[in-house]
């Protein structure tokens, strides 16, 4: 396993974990988008097909991911599960974590804060990085919301609860603390 750089945009550094040939940490540096995803996917697929069935992705140096990049991780998950293996990610930068969360993909991946936690997750021992905010903060985390005006259907956005007038039809709309939309 050698370090490779894909299209001058993503460096992948493999590191063996605990002397085990079937467990690998892949350190990612750069970005992952439609430009380099196919080669990234092909490289990691060949690792899995060569017998590696536990992968920990070190994402500390990954500064951007597009939906295609997340698609690549989804493909690895499918392939590695077929081979009775597993994978985990750790060290996601806020921007990368935001994309996973915005797309709702955090529920499919084992995501940890650091290497030890990721390794523990793979061994079925650890706790995942908090993906959902605590109940007390969930109300605020729902905002900002984008919704259709219940009167005319115009797309509107608000960052807080309250009573508003639609900029299209001037109808009154009430947004409650739970981000539910009602007419006045």
């Amino acid at each position: 396993m050698e370090e490779i750089t894909i299209k001058d945009s993503l460096k992948i550094t493999p590191m063996q974990v605990g002397g085990s040939a079937d467990t690998v940490q892949l350190v990612l540096n750069g970005y992952l988008d439609t430009y380099n995803s196919p080669e990234f996917q092909s490289h990691v697929n060949s690792l899995i097909n060569s017998g590696v069935n536990s992968i920990i992705f070190n994402c500390n140096g990954l500064n951007y991911i597009s939906s295609t990049g997340i698609g690549a991780f989804t493909a690895f998950l499918k392939l590695i599960k077929q081979k009775k293996g597993d994978m985990a990610l750790f060290g996601l930068q806020k921007k990368v974590m935001d994309v996973f969360q915005l797309l709702g993909f955090t529920k499919f991946f084992k995501i940890a804060d650091d290497f030890e936690s990721a390794l523990a997750l793979l061994r079925g021992e650890g706790k995942e990085q908090m993906k959902e905010p605590p109940a007390a903060t969930q109300v605020h985390a729902a905002f900002p919301i984008v919704f259709g005006c219940p009167h005319c259907g115009k797309k509107l956005k608000t960052s807080k609860a309250g009573t508003f007038r639609c900029s299209g039809c001037k109808g009154i709309i009430v947004v409650d603390e739970g981000a539910k939309i009602k007419t006045a």
Partner: protein, 169 residues
């Protein structure tokens, strides 16, 4: 209204350039980090779509991206010449089905629809595809300059000093 435009050749290698341009412009408009991420990922999807499915990686051809700030609206206008390429005509995907079957592609338009406030498509003069993405930015980096003006007013034997603060954003 402020506006800047970039022209990029149809190559996936230019995706990073497109992202850098758009995020720089959004930041200059005062967008917060979450808004910038949403704008960047939505535009990245459309840039990749144009290159892969409309212009076919032909570097002789290209597309323009214009970023416009209009009040608290951040508007991104994509234009490229070619056959009609209307994303809005595509069917909406069932996101629950998409997630449960762990599909790898096809999220692009879903992302754009979810993350932008408005998407408009026009086929201009039967030659040019124009896609307009509009989002409301939540200001974070507000650059304000406060300019005090002192105006003396004479009233009989008295001089009144009127102070006006002009706030320039």
């Amino acid at each position: 209204m402020k506006s800047e435009t970039i022209y990029l050749e149809s190559s996936l290698a230019n995706l990073a350039k497109a992202r850098n341009f758009i995020s720089k412009m959004a930041k200059a408009c005062g967008a917060n980090d979450e808004d910038i991420t949403k704008i960047e990922i939505s535009c990245d999807e459309w840039s990749a779509n144009i290159i892969e499915h409309s212009l076919g990686h032909d570097t002789e051809r290209g597309f323009t991206i214009q970023c416009i700030k209009n009040g608290n609206k951040f508007i991104i206008v994509y234009e490229h010449e070619g056959e009609k390429f209307n994303p809005i005509e595509q069917e909406r995907i069932d996101i629950n089905d998409h997630f449960s079957t762990l599909k790898e592609r096809g999220l692009g338009l879903y992302i754009m629809r979810e993350m932008m406030d408005e998407i408009h498509y026009e086929y201009v003069k039967n030659t040019t595809n124009r896609l307009t993405l509009v989002t409301t930015v939540t200001r974070q980096y507000i650059h304000r300059q406060v300019l005090p003006y002192i105006i003396p007013l004479r009233a009989g034997n008295y001089v009144l000093l009127m102070v006006i603060f002009l706030i320039q954003e």
